[in-house]
Amino acid sequence: MSPHDLDAILLTLKLAAVTTAILLLLGSPLAWWLANTRCRIKPALEAVVALPLVLPPTVIGFYLLLAFAPSSALGQFWLATTGDSLAFSFSALVIGSVLYSLPFVVQPLQASFEQLPKSLLEAAATMGASLKDQFFSIIMPLSKRSFITAASLGFAHTVGEFGVVLMIGGNIPGETQVLSIALYDKVENLQYTEAHWLAGGLVVFSLLLLATIYRFNRPAAIGSIKGVSH
């Protein structure tokens, strides 16, 4: 494994971690709101959230490329605020990944929130728990399984992201060359043996990581209640 490969792996993990963190922060309240609102615009908003699912990543990437360009409003704003150009930067990858993986975090959370027994929230409210308190003390632990699903879908989808990064990344080693691109590069480079090793390592690592997550993630036992009653 070359130092470039190591760079790519670290960069990918960093990208996925940052993206997942942002997604959870943004996605949880959004999912909660979507699960509970009776607002008219809800279906529209749900559709917008789901959009990245349907659009080919290259399309998303292409439009992001347009949006990030130094001549665009966003690009100029970014340049003015940070002094750096947005295009082909790590920040650009983060923005792209967040957009691209949003539905993978929001949808499982929303589904879980909608299945959550509201009666328990009512009970918590009578004990003085504010909405925020209810979120952390009841909703989070009861949706643990879905949070883990959401986080791992979001993380994994970012690790595996290819089309968007291909378009907006620029494949710059150490800055925007993530693992999926590096692997693609190896294959294109006809370095099949190296590709096998890298991919094999990724598989083994992922399997171990995932198995560990799932091992320690027994679901909260809402379902198995003997008699919720009386």
Partner: protein, 241 residues
């Protein structure tokens, strides 16, 4: 992206004799072009054709007059292990064009009869794809092979299709064959396509606006034109003129 192997050697040679560090970014020419138009921080572009550099010039994204042909690519027809029998053999030096023509025709017919496919780079976008199309047209086989074509998004993919045995044969770049030989892995059988069957694949380099003041970029372009560089390029299966 067919030039990546030559590029690595060029950069090594360049860095050995110059006080500069270069970073190589590989992608298909089209992607690179798009990225440059949207502000990618690149200084020099080495395209697999002349079309993208010309457009960059027109768009004022590149330094006028800096464009030049650094290599001319060569098309080959590569065969996979699954190709059941290659009907004839020849060497480009000592056979008559008619013999070569009939060999190609027989081989391509064989691919069809095997109900296998023929891999090419996408003629709509990739320079080697256009060349492959021209070669097939020259053979008069374009129309009959069309439904047997498998189109990779670039010549690298076309090569993968052949190398993995998913197509019996495919039009790829000579540079890929020599790269593989360098790696000493199983090499594929291939025939060079006579150069008069397709328009020259002029691979052009150009200095981008952002590289205008980059000494490394400027000196690399100068280096590309040196004999040392040309030797390296030719070793990888290109001609330089």
């Amino acid at each position: 992206s067919n030039f990546r192997w030559a590029m690595s050697d060029l950069i090594n040679a360049f860095e050995a004799s110059h006080p500069h560090q270069l970073r190589q970014v590989n992608a298909s020419s089209g992607i690179l072009f798009n990225q440059i138009t949207f502000g990618a921080p690149f200084d020099v572009m080495l395209s697999a054709n002349s079309r993208y550099p010309q457009q960059l010039e027109q768009l004022n994204l590149a330094v006028p007059e800096s464009r030049f042909t650094y290599a001319e690519g060569k098309l080959v027809l590569a065969f996979s292990d699954t190709m059941q029998a290659i009907p004839c053999s020849f060497s480009n030096d000592n056979h008559l064009p008619t013999v070569i023509l009939s060999c190609f025709t027989a081989a391509l017919t064989n691919v069809r009869q095997q109900r296998s496919k023929l891999a090419v780079a996408n003629p709509d976008i990739a320079p080697y794809g256009i060349a492959a199309q021209q070669a097939l047209q020259h053979l008069g086989l374009w129309d009959v092979t069309r439904q047997h074509l498998v189109r990779g998004s670039n010549v690298g993919q076309a090569y993968q299709f052949v190398a993995t045995g998913n197509t019996a044969a495919g039009f790829v770049a000579l540079s890929q064959m020599s790269a593989l030989q360098n790696q000493a892995s199983d090499s594929l059988a291939y025939w060079r396509v006579p150069e008069n069957w397709y328009q020259p694949i002029r691979q052009q380099a150009i200095l981008l606006q952002s590289g205008k003041k980059n000494l490394a970029a400027l000196s690399f372009l100068v280096f590309l034109k040196t004999g040392e560089a040309k030797d390296i390029i030719e070793r990888h299966g290109y001609t330089t003129r």
